[in-house]
């Protein structure tokens, strides 16, 4: 049975997208700015008629760090990478990658793919050309 729908203009809709629909959602503004953060008005140009957009699930690493000291919700996951990703569908999103223990295991420009798991939040894995996992 389908989950009760939640409006696109809510943080819950983002969470639902991540965890239940395997979708990275965002908003496209008339000025061209794409945000993957909940907003009601474009932070760049101030217009309100934002269009909800699917941002796809693949992209490239812009920046990352390997964290050895986690916050409490990631206690059993450290070390892991916290990543900034430019999505192929537009927009920039942050997320994490499990099992990365050394900075040298990744590089800016690496292709990654959104891959939801049991854990809340936006998790990425390396994107293999043949669609394989990490």
């Amino acid at each position: 049975m389908a989950e009760e729908s939640v409006g696109p203009h809510s943080i819950e809709a983002f969470r639902h997208g991540y965890e239940e629909e395997s979708r990275l959602r965002g908003f496209r503004s008339g000025c061209g700015f794409v945000t993957a953060t909940w907003v009601l008005v474009c932070p760049r140009c101030g217009i309100r008629d934002l269009v909800e957009a699917d941002l796809g699930s693949t992209g490239r690493l812009v920046a990352y760090t390997v964290q050895t000291v986690p916050s409490d919700e990631f206690l059993n996951d450290a070390p892991y990478a916290y990543v900034v990703v430019d999505l192929d569908g537009g927009g920039r999103v942050t997320g994490w990658m499990a099992g990365i223990t050394e900075e040298s295991e990744l590089a800016a420009g690496d292709r990654v793919r959104f891959s939801p798991t049991y854990k809340p939040g936006v998790q990425f894995v390396r994107d293999r050309p043949n669609g394989g996992g990490p």
């Binding site: 760090t65 964290q67 409490d72 919700e73 892991y80 916290y82 920039r92 994490w96 800016a108």
Partner: protein
């Protein structure tokens, strides 16, 4: 606008407070009032900052402090702007006094987190980030600033040795500051051997979790009488904001709010960076000192990292930066940090900074950032 002065300032030692935040805040407030020469009855407002007061099961601490100070009728408000909370309080004090709404205002910042374990404290700090869009995706504060450090290194070649030189400098300054959390010098070798917390940042790139309290009394020139200490004239009080989330910033080589607050502050004061003799900047991580010096306009983009190894920002250098030891080594009791920077400048202006005294004190700048730059305060001070 009325000319507005800082006429009293006091701080605890940063590190571990033996008493509650409320007690420490009240004690430094009384010390600042006593040092100011202001009759407490002339205080028209108290702005208190205590972002993590809930860690002590306490909110609405302002009336408790005012009551204990014997001024229960004075209105108070809690000002929260993450790590820039008490500099935001100072800005509100400036607005009240310069605008004629109060003759004198008390600004107090306090934080006590030492009773929490590292994991819990890290989680508290992370509350300053965007929970559903950053923290829930794995970010910690070291991680967020480490991401900025990564981008800076990729674009400008910033090295660990350059960041390490900042840690060495700030520890050397803190070793000469009896109020500092860390009072020992470190070597570059110690820095380079310290464990990675969030690559490329190591343990010695990171500020500590500190307890502490700091207070300043702000008064109109005509209300100040003849202060016993040389006052700081507030020549500029500027605040700015920027897109809060890192994922909505296209440029990750700096903090936009620092740039806009600095432009506004220098315009208010009618000076440029060349006139400033020394700075207290927000170095929650070593990379943050680099970003601050560039975004404030003291160095071109990509050029500030070399200032550490070349000694330019040492206390006897061309431009002393963080003579107190900064957040990095003096410590970072979140809501006390902004007021504490002003206490350091007050002591420097009065030539009471002892072994860390900087040579020139005509103009000073205080720079205080909330979280990863969603908020920023820049204040400029000069003599009368």
């Amino acid at each position: 606008m009325r000319e507005t002065w800082v006429v009293g300032a006091a701080t605890t030692r940063y590190g571990k407070l033996p008493d509650s935040g409320r007690e420490a805040a009240t004690r430094v407030a009384l010390e600042a009032i006593d040092g100011s020469g202001i009759d407490p009855k002339r205080i028209g407002y108290t702005f208190v900052s205590n972002a993590f007061g809930v860690a002590e099961r306490q909110a609405h601490v302002g009336p408790l402090i005012n009551t204990a100070l014997g001024i229960p009728d004075v209105p108070s408000a809690t000002i929260e702007s993450a790590c820039s909370s008490s500099s935001a309080g100072l800005h509100e004090a400036f607005v009240h006094v310069a605008g004629g709404f109060a003759d004198a205002v008390l600004v107090v910042g306090v934080e006590k987190l030492s009773h929490l374990d590292t994991l819990t404290a890290t989680s508290y700090f992370a509350m300053g980030a965007d929970y559903p869009f950053e923290t829930r995706n794995g970010a910690t504060f070291p991680g967020l600033y480490a991401t900025l450090a990564y981008v800076h290194r990729q674009k400008y070649g910033t090295t660990s040795e350059e960041l390490g030189a900042i840690a060495v400098k700030n520890h050397a300054n803190a070793a000469r500051n009896p109020h500092a959390h860390f009072q020992k010098e470190i070597t570059l070798e110690t820095y380079l051997r310290s464990p990675v917390i969030a690559s490329p940042l190591r343990l010695y790139d990171c500020c500590p979790f500190s307890d502490g309290a700091a207070a300043v009394v702000v008064a109109a020139r005509e209300a100040a009488g003849t202060p016993s200490s040389e006052p700081l004239v507030i020549r500029a009080s500027a605040r700015s904001g920027s897109v809060a989330d890192m994922q909505d910033r296209l440029d990750l080589t700096g903090l936009p709010a620092t740039r806009t607050a600095a432009v506004a502050a220098f315009r208010q004061a009618g000076i440029g960076p060349d006139a400033v003799d020394f700075l207290e900047v927000h170095d929650c991580f070593t990379i943050a000192e680099v970003l601050a010096l560039e975004d404030l306009g003291f160095y071109p983009k990509g050029a500030a990292a070399r200032a550490g190894p070349e000694g330019e920002t040492a206390r006897d250098g061309r431009l002393p930066v963080n003579p107190s030891g900064g957040l990095k080594a003096k410590g970072h009791p979140v809501s006390a940090t902004g007021a504490g920077q002003v206490v350091e400048i007050f002591e420097q202006f009065n030539h009471r900074a002892g072994a860390r005294q900087v040579p020139k004190t005509e103009w000073a700048l205080a720079h205080n950032v909330g979280a990863t730059g969603g908020s920023c305060s820049v204040h400029l001070f000069s003599h009368r």
